[in-house]
């Protein structure tokens, strides 16, 4: 059988990859993709715990459904904002969107 | 079919007795099943292509293929397939090679993966998943991704436009499609394809089979319309209209890669008809007679398979008939139709089905009464509003 720690470690790896991507990528859409990776890793953790802890009885899966829904809503609004950025700055490179810098 | 499952069990027992690890017979059985399905898809696609050419010809008062192979050109599809195989494989200069090569594979893999839960006959499902219909819907959404990959990687403005239109159309029509599928699922109480077919057994009044198309006629029509749009068939043909965008998203594909797209499109048509047959037309249910010389189980299965295929190909015939009869919808008309007409109808169907299931059939009287009152109110408002506008224009 697969120990629970395997799933948790995999979730940790995916989450840190997502964190690295969100902190270092310059393309705004790539940042959004890294955020989706992080949300996926969190979902994996929830579902793994829902499977291995019988007393929770699928609470983890219910929460994962909500996470998926919120991720979809956030991706839609985030991409609309990115489109607005592109229209105004002609670039999606977050390094070049620095009008409010001192 | 009791025989098939027993056969597989005996095969496993034999290999275990010979000391072969359990993995090997599993892989052998899976390979055989996938090969059978692939063979079926190829043959069925070739037949459907020939059939489409014949149907379009007769609707347009001409003959269609008549020469290749003798009788009514039955070998035309085989000749076309050989021609496509022998063509030169061209990848455009500025194209993203990896994504370009991957796109037709993604589309075909998605079209093929949906064949896992198709209930061909009692006991003849590859895997009767307990989320059967949800699985098929989610796999169909993978096709859209492959279309976008194909359009983008071709490095061609027509491809990108065609891909974006196709993706927008597919995504828009997916919503009323899934909602209209929920009606039969709610009545049967299960998402498993095999159990959905079994929930439609029996007859009303001694002759009318208890198929879901009768209580859910609205859902069936909505589903069929959305299915036409998902397969990019006329009248929702804009993404690959020959007279519009050259060939849409697959304009840069030639030879074997184009053949894969083509196969995937016809496989998708069959899948969509299979879903409609399973959920609305009773799947493999149909009159059966005992055949002499064959055990009852085998005759049962053969008749089930026969009726399933008859119903599927009837729906495919209707799809082809509509293609050569109706005019194409413009892109904005298409999107309006999905979001402003089909989606409210699908929601209304879902709500009424839910109400009837919970509160019993009397609810239908109330719903009909409210609907009639609403229609009268809307008609009155429109007429008086029209008269007011006319009076303003005259003065």
């Amino acid at each position: 059988m697969i120990p629970l720690s395997h799933y948790l470690v995999l979730g940790a790896i995916l989450f840190s990859l997502g964190v690295f991507g969100a902190l270092t990528r310059r393309n705004a859409i790539a940042i959004l993709m890294s955020i989706e990776l992080m949300l996926n890793a969190v979902n994996l953790n929830f579902i793994a715990f829902a499977r291995y802890l019988p007393q929770t009885l699928l609470q983890g899966q219910v929460f994962a459904i909500f996470v998926i829904t919120v991720a979809a809503a956030e991706a839609a609004v985030g991409l609309a904002i990115v489109l607005g950025l592109y229209r105004n700055f002609k670039t999606v490179n977050v390094d070049e969107i620095n009008l409010m810098k001192w | 079919m009791g025989n098939l499952a027993d056969l597989v069990e005996r095969f496993y027992g034999l290999t275990a007795a010979w000391g072969i690890p359990w993995l090997v017979p599993t892989l052998v059985v899976m390979t055989i099943v996938v090969s059978v399905i692939l063979a079926y898809i190829s043959v069925a696609a070739m037949f459907m292509i020939w059939w489409e050419r014949k149907i379009s010809a007769h609707i347009q008062v001409r003959y269609g293929p008549m020469r290749v192979g003798g009788w009514h050109g039955w070998a035309q599809s085989i000749a076309d397939g050989v021609k496509l195989l022998l063509k030169e494989d061209i990848i455009p200069a500025g194209a993203d090679k990896v994504v370009f090569v991957l796109a037709p594979l993604v589309v075909f893999a998605a079209a093929l993966a949906a064949y896992v839960t198709i209930p061909w006959a009692p006991g003849l499902i590859v895997r009767d998943l307990n989320i059967g219909i949800l699985y098929m819907v989610s796999i169909s959404s993978l096709v859209v991704v492959g279309v976008i990959m194909a359009g983008w990687s071709s490095n061609n403005k027509y491809s990108v436009l065609g891909a974006m239109r196709s993706a927008a159309q597919a995504v828009s029509y997916e919503v009323p499609l899934v909602l209209s599928l929920l009606g039969p699922v709610m009545i049967a109480g299960t998402m498993s394809m095999g159990k959905l077919v079994e929930a439609q057994s029996g007859v009303w009044f001694g002759f009318l089979p208890q198929w879901f198309v009768f209580p859910q006629i609205v859902a069936f029509l909505t589903y069929f319309t959305c299915a036409l749009a998902e397969c990019n068939r006329l009248p929702f043909d804009i993404p690959e209209a020959e007279s519009e965008l050259v060939a849409g998203f697959h304009v840069e594909y030639s030879g074997m890669r184009f053949a894969i797209f083509f196969l995937a499109e016809y496989a998708n048509m069959f899948t969509v008809s299979a879903i409609a047959t399973t959920l609305f037309l009773g799947g493999w249910q149909g009159p059966r007679i005992p055949l002499p010389g064959l055990p009852r189980e085998v005759a049962h299965t053969l008749f089930g398979l026969f009726w399933f295929l008859v119903k599927c190909y009837f729906l495919i015939f209707v799809m082809m008939w509509l293609r050569w009869t109706l005019a194409r919808l413009r892109v904005d008309q298409l999107m309006d139709f999905a979001w402003k007409i089909l989606l409210p109808i699908a929601f209304a169907n879902l709500i009424v089905t839910g109400l009837v299931l919970v509160l019993g059939r009397q609810v239908l009287l109330y719903v009909a009464g409210i609907a009639i009152l609403l229609l009268i109110a809307i008609a009155l408002v429109v007429r008086t509003g029209g008269r007011a506008v006319q009076a303003e224009k005259a003065s």
Binding site: L4, G11, L23, R25, A50, R51, A75, A80 | N130, Y135
Partner: protein
Amino acid sequence: MTLQLAIFYVVAAFTVWAAAVVVLGKNIVRAAVALIFSFCGMAALYVLLDAEFLAAVQVLIYVGGITILLLFAIMLTSRIASKTARVVNDQVILSAMVAVGLLVGLIYASTSGLVMTAAPPLLPETSPFLGRALLTTYALPFEVVSILLLAAMVGAIILARKE
């Protein structure tokens, strides 16, 4: 090494490789395609965890919805012939340290507890249970999430409209 463990390792390696391409890939379209692969890998992992309904929902919503949104946004905001030189910004080293530190901390937290391997008895089907739970115990968050989706839809339409 049971079959399930072998499948887990294969799927996990595939998902991690796809995630690495998402995070480090130069070509944004290839990164999006790799994201699709990582979502499919996650769906396979959910099936391994007996969460079949969530696996189908993951494919339907993430692959069939969110990645299509991402691909549309990529197509609308990138020039076909642009090959920008740099993928990562100036804070690579600091971010790498943060990410590695986070990874080490999380792995330590994950592996230092009880070793749970015994699979508890399962529900035969998760879908009816989830459906009932969403409409009885979790009815309030369910309604709130519907309102959230409505707000997100209206907001996205208004933000993305051409004035």
